[in-house]
Subunit: 361 residues, 2 copies
């Protein structure tokens, strides 16, 4: 009796992606709890004989195997950040309002509708729906597939359905995090001259950050703006103690033309003489807009491409040598916001855009 | 059967203050848990007919009422900071080692022995043993007495038995704490230019602190060294967010010649243009060494007086118009230390010093 199995809701992939977005958002899918939605997606796609469906953990991969010369990968994550009283989805005017509408159930809905419908596309298609994007990088479902089933990720071009307001955003900046640690010597604050104040030593670190002029670098025709920022600072033992330690956590967003090693070398140069520890590091992705498939795609969806600043999983494709862009409904500024909401016309625009490019066999 | 009542241990006030220090340290007396030690002190003092004993909460006040022209108050707190595996007290060479030995059971032991023994001093004496010194100021037993039983604190001169290595330390610096709050605007750190980084704004606050030249002010013949220090800093929302707030907590230790209002005015001037919130404020105490009783006392115990830097309860006497000094066994640097230890000869020196001054009627 699968229809009544609560672990197997039925998704109607012939409906509008707008209605499907609502259904997908209302299924439980906070990171780590993707089993139900993955089951539903897998079962729904297995109903289409033109698709070969694989399951890996809570990731689902559906491929056409038409023997085309080229293969395009279209991917999106099925998990969301925690719900905060913002479900079920409400329709307010021309918006869908609620957790996941932007990041990124609307993009997933467009992909599912097209996966079901496009049985004879001009290129082979691989549709990837994956888990654990919103949590620690080592849990990321696309990363797991890249390690364990790289054959499923193979392709000539990839589109990640992350929110871009239905515009192509190429590549992404890389991101590095470092902790800059200042060390002093404790003393009672009534006799401060007996100690050495580590927080005071952070003055120069913050001055460097305040005065830093971030670069703008052109990569494959798009201009990437960098950023170097304190994202955290801590220090202090008690209200009457000269602190012996302070830590400034710095996030460097670097253009995709820099390697990870280049980025860290730059940070170390900026903070020469300070104790710098790298705590997180991920290269960006070049926009790859010199690729013919990318150019065809951009032309099909409106001819405009912008740089993507935030790090996204396009970098995982880039690391596999696959040019990749972001393209999906929703304002990325609203991702994770409690008032997350997507314009319905952006959902329909993305469906039209992808259909215009892939809908003719 | 009071002897076997566990709430009423018997203290032998005729023994050496060294042995009594050991007994006092081994009684439970972490702040908030002073009932047993207060009971023991009260009962022990009530055995002496030359003393009038009052009890207020877990504070005990014992007075002579000889009708002398002048009255000297000698006070000490009976609580300690939490034990950390450093009890019971061990005797190691010429030291007593363990929690409370320095801060300030040795000083309390000297006072108890003299309270019992000095039945005909040349001045009337008020011995105060009070609770809750090591915790929030509003709980302080001496402060409570000052509010509710100021008659018990009346006197012409006060000695606080806080550790001073058996040297007279006059007065104390005042202390003020302020929070300096920087406000920015959140943004995703991938698009940092959309926000305003509050942590970066702390650069100037830390520069001011780093470059600040603390004053040295002479008060009643003693030189007080001030200090202005960050004792805490915090800021940051997440590793990918431009922080909208940072707070620097600053502790100003100011000479007793400055009023609280002067001190805050100075801090506000130093941090002109910043948002400054006062979170704690206590005036210091002038050393009062121009008082004849103070001069007699200093002469009796060796003729040397130094400034006290740390804030102590002498300021509570000072606020009541009573000149007050610190004088007690133990190195104040070891107060609260896990290896807290007092030299036995400092305990005996304080006993001798006070006896030399007060022992003849």
């Amino acid at each position: 009796m699968p229809v009544t199995d609560p672990l197997l809701p039925v998704l109607d992939l012939t409906q509008s992606p707008v209605d499907l977005t609502v259904e997908l958002c209302d299924l439980p899918s906070v990171s780590g709890d993707e089993r139900v939605i993955a089951n539903a997606i897998e079962a729904s796609l297995r109903a289409y004989p033109h698709l070969t469906v694989d399951r890996d953990g809570d990731a689902v991969v559906a491929r056409t195997t038409l023997g085309r010369d080229r293969r395009v990968v279209i991917a999106g994550h099925i998990d969301t950040v925690p719900v905060n009283g913002n479900l079920p989805v409400r329709r307010v005017g021309d918006d869908l309002v609620g957790r996941g509408t932007v990041d990124m159930k609307a993009g997933v809905a467009v992909a599912l509708v097209l996966a079901a419908d496009l049985s004879a596309p001009p290129v082979d298609l691989t549709w990837i729906f994956y888990d654990h994007e919103e949590v620690a990088a080592e849990l990321n479902g696309l990363g797991r597939l890249a390690r364990t089933r790289p054959d499923l990720l193979a392709g000539d071009f990839a589109i990640l359905g992350e929110p871009t307001s239905a515009t192509v955003e190429g590549g992404c900046n890389g991101t590095a995090r470092v902790d800059i640690r200042l060390r002093g010597r404790r003393a009672h604050s009534a006799r401060s001259w007996m100690g050495h104040n580590a927080i005071h030593d952070a003055a120069e670190v913050l001055r460097i950050l305040r005065d830093y002029q971030a670069a703008e670098l052109e990569v494959d025709g798009l201009v990437y703006r960098e950023g170097l920022n304190a994202v955290g600072i801590s220090g202090g033992v008690a209200g009457n103690v000269i602190p012996d330690e302070a830590v400034v956590s710095v996030n460097y967003r670097f253009a995709p033309s820099r390697s990870a090693a280049d980025a860290i070398a730059h940070v170390r140069e900026v903070f020469a003489g300070f104790e710098v520890e790298v705590t997180d590091l991920a290269e960006g992705a070049r926009p790859g807009l010199d690729d013919p498939l990318a150019q065809e795609f951009v032309a099909a969806v409106g001819g405009v491409a912008r740089p993507k600043y935030g790090w996204t999983d396009v970098a995982r494709f880039s690391a596999l040598g696959i040019p990749a862009v972001n393209y999906g409904p929703g304002d990325p500024q609203l991702a994770h916001a409690d008032d997350e909401r997507v314009h319905i016309d952006e959902i329909l625009a993305c469906e039209r855009g992808l259909r215009a490019w892939l809908g003719t066999g």
